[in-house]
């Protein structure tokens, strides 16, 4: 009799085990990685998508918004700084404000590089508050000059520590570019702020890391007015927007 009772328990337990396992059901999935990239370009030339210009200390009141190049230079009283921005709403479909920007790369084609390796810093216009930038941050390619530029006229200001990124350009550079080609700056955090709306998109200013150098060094970058598909400024934004 005891044996029969035992068999009954064992049989009943076996019957219920598969059902009980369902309680610990786990859901597994292979990786599914979606990535979206928006490439904004200064080509075909449209100021509304990629306004750019540069400012010159030596010709402080002159505007260079129609030039086909962006001049970056260090020199004694002869410093020059490019300004540029990209209209992010141009991206189609629009980048959602909830998106996570995983990469944003600012690319400028240097067609004449400095004769020695120089470091060029990129600064987000507006960062630093009133310490480095005036309250009004707007600028236009058609009106900006050395005297009214958002960064102010003090050289080496904002300080290099405020830069978003740096790139080496010039003969002899072992990193960056030593000959004609695209220079790249990682501006991911800046674009993330623009996308999320935590900062206004007023673009970037680029300057030599050491302005006021006794010897003049310069690099020419292509501007959007150059109207070249292969050498115009680009902003490459990679993002994800998933829960």
């Amino acid at each position: 009799m005891k044996l029969r009772y035992g068999l009954v328990f064992v049989a009943a337990a076996l019957v219920t085990i598969p059902t009980a396992s369902a309680a610990s059901l786990s859901i597994a999935s292979q990786h599914l990685t979606p990535v979206r990239t928006c490439v904004l370009s200064g080509y075909p030339s449209t100021e509304t998508i990629e306004p750019d210009s540069y400012v010159s200390q030596g010709a402080a009141g002159t505007n260079y918004g129609t030039q086909t190049y962006l001049y970056a230079q260090t020199g004694n009283g002869a410093n020059m700084r490019p300004y540029l921005s990209f209209a992010l709403p141009t991206c189609t479909p629009a980048i959602p404000s909830t998106a996570t920007v995983t990469s944003a790369v600012l690319r400028l084609y240097a067609y004449t590089v400095a004769t020695t390796c120089r470091t060029y810093d990129v600064f987000r216009v507006g960062v630093g508050g009133t310490t480095y930038w005036p309250a009004s941050l707007t600028w236009t390619a058609a009106a900006i000059d050395w005297t009214n530029q958002p960064a102010g006229t003090t050289i080496n200001n904002p300080p290099a520590a405020e830069a978003t990124a740096s790139e080496n350009v010039g003969t002899g550079c072992t990193t960056g570019i030593a000959a004609a080609g695209y220079a790249s700056w990682s501006v991911t955090s800046d674009v993330q702020a623009f996308v999320n709306g935590t900062d206004t998109n007023d673009g970037w200013m680029i300057r030599d890391a050491t302005e006021g150098n006794a010897t003049t060094y310069h690099t020419y970058f292509r501007s959007e007015n150059d109207n070249s598909a292969t050498q115009d400024p680009q902003l490459v934004i990679t993002y994800v927007d998933v829960p």
């Binding site: 009799m1 029969r4 009772y5 009954v8 328990f9 009943a12 337990a13 019957v15 219920t16 059902t19 009980a20 396992s21 369902a22 309680a23 610990s24 059901l25 859901i27 999935s29 292979q30 990786h31 599914l32 990685t33 979606p34 990535v35 979206r36 990239t37 928006c38 490439v39 904004l40 370009s41 200064g42 080509y43 075909p44 449209t46 998508i49 990629e50 141009t90 991206c91 189609t92 479909p93 996570t100 995983t102 990469s103 790369v105 991911t188 070249s228 598909a229 292969t230 490459v236 990679t238 994800v240 998933v242 829960p243």
Partner: protein, 129 residues
């Protein structure tokens, strides 16, 4: 003990055991059918949450290729599918498999298919590994 009593005890035991197991079985089924599962959100795993760098190769008027770089090794073996769209025109090259160590994937775009415009959209989906 009379035989009828033995049978009665035996049957009673079966009824008790069956009732007990039925409770267990019902509890097991509840987890799969209750709102515990429906109320949760399970994130689809991704092989990378960092950026994949995308660069276009262009001629004076057309996009002729894409270079997808900085793909981490965690995505090695994944099937990668790319679609590029410029304006109303789009093109999807054949899917490829990411090399075991990650790295770079290049995609050729037939010249003439995708004209260069102010903005391009590149959608990438990596399935697996």
């Amino acid at each position: 003990m009379p035989r009828s009593r033995v049978i009665a005890r035996f049957l009673a035991t079966i009824v008790l055991v069956a009732a007990g197991m039925a409770v267990i079985g019902r509890a097991a089924g509840l987890a799969a059918t209750s709102d515990h599962i429906g109320a949760g959100v399970i994130a689809t795993p991704v092989c990378t949450s960092t950026g994949v760098t995308v660069l276009e190769t262009v001629t004076t008027t057309y996009v002729t290729g894409l270079t997808l770089s900085n793909i981490p090794s965690a995505c090695g073996g994944a099937t990668i599918q790319v679609t590029i769209a410029e304006g109303a025109v789009s093109y999807s090259p054949a899917s490829q498999t990411v090399a075991a160590g990650g790295g770079t994937v290049t995609e050729a775009i037939p010249s003439g298919d995708i004209p260069v415009t102010d903005q391009a959209q590149v959608d990438i989906v990596m399935e697996g590994p």
